[in-house]
């Protein structure tokens, strides 16, 4: 029995190797396709003081696609996404090494201004965090401090429409953002992010604190957003990753104390139907742990 299983695993491994060789190219792209690149991350490692939380992550983020990052708690997903717009270094003692290219610009180059980077690469957090201002000001504020000189009313309306919130708030723009439901507040935060016209939107578990209906609205919003933006989302909800993303990266820690690694990265369809690595299969099928 044991021999038979071992033989079977060998055959599976051989086929998987063939598939990997076919699908993966030397540039670390998921399938070697020629889609437009949104961001290119090379050999990225992240530290909290002397502790290495993440090691050697290389990944091509495709433009106008949704890339989902999944993995068990503590594997470095949120650390990774925070490295993508230099939010990681805000934590005292935290630093990152490696290259994160946004177009031709390495966001970790000495000449790169973190403030400008965070405008170009916006972020939506797990818990909605609207300012204690009106709905209108929540959206307009970021654009205003960035020196936006266009028609602010139009910008607010456009941003709220892109965040699929306009119809629900257009008659109460002067009311406080805190008066909205949790799902509406999260979409308000998305609108706020969109108002500064970023190129990439990072989302760190944006729907984890929301009810199913609000979650669905956020997911529908993402489908719209990728028409104009590149989206990277961290989620613990694997069905959500399967529903909304075009590419999925699985982060994993081999043993306690080790840094997190990007274990497998491919098209979402592949990751949820026939992943190459056993750990990915165990995780997406819930056999992990």
């Amino acid at each position: 029995m044991e021999t038979k299983r071992t033989e079977r695993e060998r055959k599976v491994s051989e086929v998987s190797k063939d598939q990997r060789e076919m699908r993966q190219k030397g540039d670390g792209s998921p399938s070697g396709d020629s889609l437009t690149l949104g961001m290119k991350i090379q050999d990225l490692s992240a530290f909290y003081g002397s502790f290495k939380a993440l090691t050697d992550v290389s990944i091509d983020v495709r433009a106008n696609k949704v890339t989902a990052l999944i993995g068990p708690s503590g594997c470095g997903k949120s650390t990774f996404i925070r490295c993508l717009n230099r939010m990681h270094e805000v934590v005292p003692g935290a630093r990152a090494e490696g290259h994160v290219m946004l177009g031709e610009q390495d966001i970790y180059a000495k000449t790169s201004d973190p403030v400008v980077i965070r405008r170009r690469i916006g972020m939506v957090f797990q818990k909605p965090n609207p300012f204690s201002k009106s709905i209108y000001e929540n959206v307009a504020w970021g654009a205003r401090i960035n020196g936006y000189r266009g028609n602010m009313d139009e910008l607010v309306e456009r941003s709220l429409k892109h965040a699929a919130l306009w119809e629900e708030v257009k008659d109460r723009l002067k009311e406080s953002g805190h008066g909205l439901s949790g799902g509406q507040q999260q979409r308000l935060c998305i609108a706020r992010t969109l108002a500064v016209e970023p190129e990439v939107i990072l989302m760190d578990e944006p729907a984890s604190a929301l009810d199913p209906v609000s979650t669905q609205k956020i997911e529908d919003t993402m489908e719209q957003l990728k028409q104009e933006y590149t989206v990277v989302i961290v989620t613990h909800n694997m069905q959500q990753a399967a529903r909304i993303s075009d590419y999925t990266g699985f982060f994993y820690i081999e043993s306690m104390g080790d840094p997190g690694r990007l274990w497998e990265f491919d098209e979402t369809e592949k990751m949820f139907s026939n992943p190459d690595r056993k750990e990915t299969e165990d995780y997406v099928t819930g056999r992990f742990g």
């Binding site: 038979k4 079977r8 055959k11 599976v12 086929v15 998987s16 063939d18 598939q19 694997m238 069905q239 399967a242 949820f272 139907s273 026939n274 992943p275 990915t280 299969e281 997406v284 099928t285 819930g286 056999r287 992990f288 742990g289």
Partner: protein, 233 residues
């Protein structure tokens, strides 16, 4: 292990599927025996199995649907449920075809037969049964190498199909009773289909294990051998 209950449900489902497969194997064995011995009584035992197999098949498909709805399976679990549904369909259809053949044997009891055609039919029935049994065994053991070889065994059935059809169209003697010859034409077709179902059941093991359809896996396998041959030259 997490999802232990789900794993038990998957194991139970696979077990139900294999039980159904074993029952169809018994029906096919009886069919062959009835053909070999011109034994209508043995064939009669199989009349009515169609409904039983369809009911069992529906039960398995219902369980697959419930597991998909409740457990949201992905990756290997999803492939297993898809494969179980597909194999169930092949098993039920094979059982139905088996009953059709047994009906034909019962209905033509005592009819005069063309011996050459009957010999070809019996040989075809034995081969189709063997392909079916092997297909089920390949699926049970997930033996993807043997799945690749099943197609070659099915080729023999295809050859016998051509031979039998030729004998029906051009009988060597008087060709036996017209009713028997007409039924023989249908039996030839049914046996060819049973063999095809056996090949597909075995081939589903390739998809289950690798995620590839057997046709794609075969092409990749052949390409690799060509590459190896070229490299060695």
């Amino acid at each position: 292990m997490p999802r232990e209950t789900f794993q038990q449900e998957l194991d139970g489902l696979t077990s139900d599927l294999l039980d159904l497969g074993r029952e169809v194997e018994v029906s096919l064995e009886n069919m062959v025996r009835a053909m070999e011995g011109r034994d209508a009584d043995v064939a009669r035992q199989e009349l009515g199995v169609d409904i039983r197999y369809k009911t069992r098949g529906m039960d398995i498909e219902r369980e697959c649907m419930i597991l998909q709805a409740r457990q949201a399976p992905v990756a290997g679990d999803l492939r297993l449920l898809y494969t179980v549904q597909s194999v169930t369909n092949h098993l039920v259809r094979s059982g139905t075809l088996c009953e059709h053949i047994c009906h034909a044997i019962v209905d033509t009891e005592g009819c005069e037969r063309d011996e050459d055609l009957e010999t070809a039919l019996v040989e075809m029935a034995r081969t189709a049964r063997n392909v079916f049994n092997e297909g089920l065994d390949v699926f049970e053991n997930r033996d993807i190498d043997r799945a690749r070889n099943l197609q070659a065994k099915d080729d023999k059935v295809d050859l016998l199909y051509s031979e039998a059809m030729n004998l029906i169209a051009n009988p060597s003697g008087d060709g036996g009773a017209p009713e028997w010859r007409m039924r023989a034409a249908l039996m030839v077709h049914y046996l060819e289909r049973i063999s095809d179902h056996g090949v597909d059941i075995g081939g589903s093991a390739v998809f289950l294990v690798t995620g590839q359809r057997i046709e794609d896996a075969m092409q990749q396998y052949l390409d690799r051998n060509v590459d190896h041959d070229g490299g060695g030259a």
